[in-house]
């Protein structure tokens, strides 16, 4: 495959790994949610790339056009975006409640306190 094709996928991989790394390493809960969003968005880019057709246009039918991008990935990603934001909303309300209960959004701190609580 030529370079002109593979840079696209390489970028997708980089974005995905960055997002996942943030999710795995960061203990700040908001940062985790941010990482999750970066991760998901990279998948959106991957899908939309699948839909691209050389020389095509957006899949809105018009008499003078005959080559269109594949509409199916677009449809799927519309759904996925909404699923993503729904997840984010739920995650953030959990973060708010966790902050309310523990006074922090750092997983480490909460674990430390919980560990202390079980010992005492």
């Amino acid at each position: 495959m030529s370079l002109s094709g593979s840079y696209h996928y390489l970028a997708v991989v980089l974005l995905m790994v960055t997002g996942l790394y943030v999710v795995m390493v960061n203990t700040n809960l908001i940062k985790k949610v941010l990482g999750l969003n970066i991760f998901q968005t990279s998948v959106f880019v991957f899908y939309i790339s699948l839909g691209r057709l050389e020389g095509g246009t957006a899949p809105i039918l018009a008499d003078e056009l005959s080559r269109y991008a594949n509409p199916l990935p677009h449809v799927l990603i519309l759904t996925a975006i909404v699923v993503g934001v729904a997840t984010t909303a739920l995650a953030l309300s959990l973060v708010v409640q966790i902050h309310r209960a523990h006074g922090t959004m750092e997983e480490d701190d909460i674990d430390d306190r919980e560990g202390g609580a079980t010992i005492s």
Binding site: G5, M16, F44, G51, R52, L78, V83, A86, L90
Partner: protein
Amino acid sequence: MSTWHLINAGLLGFMVAVAIAVAALRNLFAAVMLFAIYSLSAATLFVALDAVDVAFTEAAVGAGISSILMLATLAATDGREKQHRHRRALPLVLCLALAVVLFAGLHDLAPVGDPAAPAHVHVAPRYLSETATEVGVPNVVTAVLASYRGYDTLGEAVVIFTAGLGVTALLGGHFRRRRSGKNGDV
């Protein structure tokens, strides 16, 4: 390299840079703002990839609503991430392994835009050729969304309902100050 490729490569490179910056920044407010920029660039990229509906949604939902939700959360909590004792080695190894598996898979696919790719020859052509007669809407994305795969869209609505229900259960009654903003969003 055509202009299209230049724009694409530029946008993708920019996104990678922004994503790494989000990962590195300890100021959460700045990280959220950068994330909004990341989403907007994704939306721009979608326009370049001929996915205007998705671009519009990403801009409104990803860059808009998500960022607002995060800012609202930040306002209700702390703004800074603390320094931590991280274990970085294992996640890094896992991420790299994942990157290899994924890139191997992606590399094997037809190049972006290749008309011979299976995705362009199997199911999709029917949507493009028959929508005009079967559904009668010029925007094929809308037609597929509402008709051929309308059931996914119902599922999507259920997802929103579920999340809304969860947010109400978690914050409803407890969160009067911000109530209108929150519940309206989802």
